[in-house]
């Protein structure tokens, strides 16, 4: 067995746990500059599943594919620190303002370009949009089977993958032939931490754009160690129809984003006296909270 070729679809997302008032731009898209950027949490669960396959099947390679601005190279490095072999940053102004349809189109065209792979693994959804559409759309566009809400990849045998899915009312174990698209649930195991040696090996990895402002003293590294060059692909590197890219290819328009803060306005102090507890019980029964 010479291992599998796995592509992990990952996204750098604004940390929506810290949404401020300037979180949205006038055109209804997210103002990424105002929020700290993180590796989308469920994409980390997806990466862990890929790395477990790599642990089990020597020769397996894990490639991170991400679309985003230049700084999204950070999550490719982050993936490499945890065990991914390499990554592709798909970045171009032409992709700006993409909704899920335009994103999945660009990713699917990139995957066609990559051509050879056995598994595409993505997080179920990103915390900025919460749509859970990109993974399934990529599968549709590539004409591949898709298995969503995966919590565990149990085995790979004879070209077929057996997986456990976490559904609303229980679990389901399914088997599917490769190649396929898998989306991984947040209930799957957390991603392993960064590895010290990989961190030191890959910390200088950079895209061509990042190299423009890199430390001069280390320039020779990028010749001596080819793996330090993170692939940076633009719209020129894939075959695509401009009409289907970016804002032009995005039928979704965000009208408004509200920051909802849940607040309990009426606080009630209840002591441990029998009287207070009786009152509380009656109130809870009346409101059908209990009973």
């Amino acid at each position: 067995m010479s291992g599998y070729k796995i592509i992990v679809l990952a996204k750098q997302v604004p940390d929506t746990r810290n949404v401020g008032k300037d979180a949205m731009k006038a055109d209804g898209t997210i103002n990424r500059a105002a929020l700290p950027a993180i590796f989308n949490p469920e994409d980390l669960n997806a990466l862990e599943q890929a790395l477990r396959i790599k642990d089990q099947f020597p020769g397996t390679t894990v490639t991170i594919l991400t679309m985003g601005p230049g700084r999204a190279a950070e999550i490719i490095r982050e993936g490499m620190f945890r065990g991914a072999d390499d990554g592709i940053l798909l970045t171009d102004r032409a992709f700006a303002g993409s909704d899920t349809l335009a994103t999945s189109y660009a990713l699917a065209q990139t995957l066609k370009k990559i051509a050879s792979f056995d598994l595409i693994i993505a997080g179920r959804q990103a915390i900025d949009g919460d749509t859970a559409q990109v993974g399934p759309q990529v599968a549709e566009k590539l004409g591949l089977p898709q298995v969503t809400y995966v919590e565990e990849i149990r085995s790979i045998e004879n070209g077929k993958v057996t997986m456990k899915r976490r559904l609303e009312r229980g679990v389901e174990v399914v088997r599917c032939p490769m190649p396929l698209v898998i989306t991984v649930n947040g209930s799957a195991p957390d991603c392993r931490a960064r590895n010290a040696k990989l961190l030191m090996r890959y910390k200088h990895a950079k895209t061509v754009s990042e190299l423009q402002i890199a430390n001069e003293d280390y320039m020779h590294l990028y010749n001596d160690r080819p793996y330090l060059n993170i692939k940076e692909w633009t719209v020129q590197d894939i075959d695509s129809n401009p009409e289907e890219l970016g804002l032009a290819g995005s039928p979704t328009k965000v009208k408004k984003v509200d920051n909802v803060v849940l607040q309990a306005k009426e606080a009630k102090i209840i002591t441990s006296s029998d009287e207070d507890i009786n009152l509380l019980m009656r109130e809870l029964i009346d409101s059908h909270t209990i009973g």
């Binding site: 931490a193 960064r194 010290a196 040696k197 090996r201 910390k203 590294l221 001596d224």
Partner: protein, 570 residues
């Protein structure tokens, strides 16, 4: 996402001490491995950046895995199944996380798959892990034993065992026995050479062995039949894969419950001799113990950090008499003094770690080539300082650790006595730090020579002569006066030429030296970063009161007084 490294800016401060550049340059032999290993640093900045980023990984794992697992491990504990240890489930998860992160064998050379980190960042990782779980740090920290293999074992043994440690196998050092605790000369475990099997065989019992069922153990055994003292002891490597050792029981302990303390039975257990026969105790155990003592100092600092943080958080949030209790002088004084002792312990810890780094690195270089005169002098200087400071760091920081844990429970009031808050566990875990790897009393025995020979005083004079900014001058003046008091006290005790009288006052004298040294270290820190001023002022006040009290005790004491302390035994 908690991170126990990035939330503690004092750590990075110590990581970037001015001496680090020299340490890194020596440790990396002027960066000669940069083209050989793709994870070796290119230059000093690159190395410090790597330490910083790797410690961030340690902080991440500690904040999100090891810290949260500590309570469950404390409740579950390890057990013995079929003569072997089964860790608590959380312990297994911790080991797995650290193994996958490549954080085993941090200080070992790259040719054995290690990270080749100096002692300072390794000890910093121990400091961070200890804050997360004081029991677990023992299992992880026993990778120290690999350093002893690296120093004294044959090339063949190094190549055989060290990569396994780096891959995540755990270690143990099997020294103590039922009748050989502090007095290791009494070790009886028998080592006999078997011609038939072509190996050494170990027979006997070891007791109080931390992680006794580890994969690779260093064992102190009597190789010279008929001898009774330390000169008949040799050091061996026992590989669990070969079998022959079973765990008879795990001790039921007050604290550090997750760390299995084992009683081991050796029955014809095959073992390899390390280095030369008869040097087991005299040379190798001494090196092993010094490393372990520095580890306990780190553990003490980490536990102190945990105690201080728990106490501070509780004092801010606990309302009594209509306000947060941190607003009461009785409480804020406790907290500020705790922080000062914590900062002072940490400064002493990293000063000691730097001394160890300098001398050990020169020692390893001397095996590769001849040192020039200047280098040899430096090696000797730092070896002396390391020997001088190690018992001080272990002794004082473990006592402070206990004091901090006590105060942290006190600040929690009745709640601190309950198992509902982490301080209850921290209090139990802290207790061992001033006992194992040599009690505080034995650290004083190791340190007192530094008092009587004037070695501490000479180092205090070095600190005194350092350049500091003018606004710190008044603090220095206070310390100069305290140093005079210390000198007087030393002279008075020394002049009696009475060994028992010196022993009687030894702890007082060692503490006086220690408090003055720690004050100077904080002063130096403040000179580099003014955020240490608060702790420096607080600690110097504490030191002044302590030094004066000790000096008064000594001034009013005479040899004749000893009689009223002694016990007559029939």
């Amino acid at each position: 996402m908690a991170n126990f490294y990035t939330d503690n800016k004092e750590l990075k401060f110590h990581l970037t001490h001015p001496l680090m550049e020299k340490i890194v340059r020596l440790k990396e032999r002027n960066f000669e491995e940069k083209d050989k290993y793709d994870y070796a640093p290119m230059d000093y900045e690159d190395a410090i950046d790597s330490f910083d980023q790797v410690l961030e990984v340690v902080g991440d794992i500690c904040g999100n895995i090891i810290g949260p697992n500590a309570e469950g491990i404390d409740a579950e504990g390890p057990k013995v199944v079929d003569g072997h240890v089964v860790y608590a489930s959380g312990t297994e998860k911790n080991i797995e996380a650290l193994r996958k992160a490549g954080l085993m064998g941090m200080s070992l050379p790259r040719k054995y798959d290690g990270l080749n980190f100096p002692i300072v960042p390794y000890i910093m990782a121990a400091d961070i892990v200890s804050r997360a779980d004081a029991g677990f740090v023992n299992i992880w920290g026993l990778q120290d034993c690999a350093e002893t293999i690296n120093e004294f074992a044959s090339e063949e043994q190094k190549a055989k065992y060290l990569p396994r440690v780096c891959a995540g196998e755990t270690m143990a050092m099997d020294l103590t026995e039922p009748d050989a605790g502090s007095d290791l000369q009494a070790v009886q475990l028998k080592a006999t050479w078997s011609e038939a099997k072509g190996t050494w065989l170990l027979n006997g019992v070891k007791r109080f062995i931390t992680n006794g069922d580890g994969d690779i153990s260093l064992v102190l055994a009597r190789s010279e039949a008929g001898t009774k003292d330390g000169r008949g002891l040799s050091m061996y490597i026992y590989d669990k894969k070969n079998g022959g050792v079973t765990v008879r029981r795990i001790e039921h302990k007050m604290g550090i419950i997750g760390s299995p303390t084992c009683e081991l039975v050796f029955k014809d257990a095959p073992a390899e001799l390390v280095g030369s026969r008869k040097m087991g105790l005299i040379k190798y155990v001494m090196a092993l113990m010094n490393g372990a003592r520095l580890g306990i100092a780190a553990q003490s600092v980490g536990v102190s950090e945990a105690a201080y943080r728990e106490a501070l958080a509780y004092a801010k949030e606990r309302m009594q008499f209509g306000k947060a209790i941190i607003r009461f002088p009785a409480v804020y004084e406790m907290l500020t003094t705790m922080k000062a002792k914590l900062d002072a312990s940490r400064s002493l810890l990293y000063e000691t770690a730097r001394f160890v780094d300098m001398y050990k690195t020169y020692m390893h270089i001397s095996e590769e080539r001849k040192l020039d005169n200047e280098e040899r002098d430096e090696m000797k200087k730092y070896q002396k300082l390391a020997d001088l400071f190690t018992p001080l760091a272990k002794g004082i920081s473990s006592e402070f650790c206990n004091q901090l844990a006590y105060e942290a429970v006190q600040i929690h009031g009745g709640s601190g006595f309950m198992k509902d808050y982490p301080v209850e566990r921290i209090y139990r875990d802290a207790r061992i730090t001033s006992i194992y790897e040599g009690t505080t009393q034995l650290q004083v025995v190791a340190a007192i020579r530094g008092v009587t020979t004037g070695a501490y005083l000479a180092q205090i004079r070095e600190y005194e002569a350092q350049k500091i900014s003018p606004e710190l001058e008044s603090i220095r003046r206070t310390l100069i006066i305290l140093t005079e008091e210390y000198e007087e006290a030393v002279a008075k005790v020394n002049d009696t030429n009475d060994a028992e009288f010196i022993d009687f006052h030894a702890r007082r004298l060692v503490e006086m030296a220690g408090y003055i040294i720690m004050s100077y270290l904080l002063l130096t820190d403040t000179n580099r970063d003014s955020s240490f001023l608060r702790s420096t002022k607080t600690f110097v006040k504490f030191a002044k009161a302590q030094v004066k009290a000790h000096s008064e005790f000594i001034r009013s004491s005479s040899i004749d007084d000893l009689g009223s302390y002694k016990f007559e035994l029939n």
